[in-house]
Amino acid sequence: MEKIEESLMIERKNQTHRIFFHSLLLILLAFFAFILGWAYLSPAPGSTGLGVLVDAQLRESGVENRVTAVLLNFRGYDTLLECFVLFLGAVGVWSLTPSRLRWHESLDSPILASLVQLLVPLMIIIAGYLTWFGTLRAGGAFQGGTVLAAAVVLLLLASRSTWQKIPLTLLSYGLIIGPAFFLFIGIACLIPGGNLLQYPTGYNNILILLIELVAAISISLSLAALFGGRRPDAPNNTLTTGTER
């Protein structure tokens, strides 16, 4: 009898918690909705944003897409650091102890296998296209890299052992080559007397394209490493706590 009362008490407590949490959430959401609606409906002040400024300088950037011009040229320093942040994220994941649970070798689904066969080559093409076209239209290293990463994730889902089959040195160099190349170009810009990441005139376009292509590879590998979860050479014996089959 006491037990029933006790569980009723807990149930009631949970109920109060839930109501409290829900009302807090409701207030927060309403607040955000209000701010967004206000920003949308209020008449724009005299400023036209930075778009005009960027458009005026677009010719000098070496690319035709505003966003790429800002990311890779005008504010190249931010993007350089961003590449390193992703790299550090992948290093962080590799430094953690592998989780102790059974490792699904594969889902063994013929549908998934044939889907992967169809999709992965297509995704590689799309990734290359997005990266290359980033200089002209919407797209760029991050978008292309993510599509490539998604291709790797699909491969991992179809067969977990793919991750172990990639040579560790190839993976490690692949992870660092993007940020390293970006940094190398940035420092090389100092030699003819420019500033850090101030590309020499005339070489803008080709340098940005090269950086984007190399960065896309590293970005995709970093993101895939987040999904892969552990170093490919991490010992297997830590993973046998589950019911291994």
Partner: protein
């Protein structure tokens, strides 16, 4: 045309708020993750409407696609670590239907 677009925008905004509410308060974690992925996809549409195709591409690829995959795999791990809890019961069900 503008009326139709305004109607579309309003529907989009309301759907986003509705999705956000349900994915944050939902009890079923798997359902929440699925709602989160759909939230990301609709958010990409919002970015398109705001004339920011670059952000829309990134949102669809990273916000919906990759984060969704990461959350799903994390959910699978949670399910196999904490046994006996409520959220795990359904995780067991899912695994059974998989095997």
């Amino acid at each position: 045309m503008t009326t139709a677009l305004t109607f579309f925008d309003i529907t989009l905004s309301l759907t986003l708020v509705w999705l956000a509410w349900h994915l944050l308060t939902g009890e079923d974690l798997f359902k929440d993750v699925v709602l989160f992925i759909s939230f990301g996809l609709l958010m990409a549409l919002v970015w398109v409407r705001l004339k920011a195709p670059d952000v829309a591409l990134t949102e669809a690829a990273i916000g919906a696609g990759l984060t969704g995959a990461l959350l799903l795999s994390a959910l699978r791990r949670i399910a196999s670590i904490t046994k006996g809890e409520r959220r795990v019961d359904y995780g067991e069900d899912r695994r059974k239907s998989h095997d």
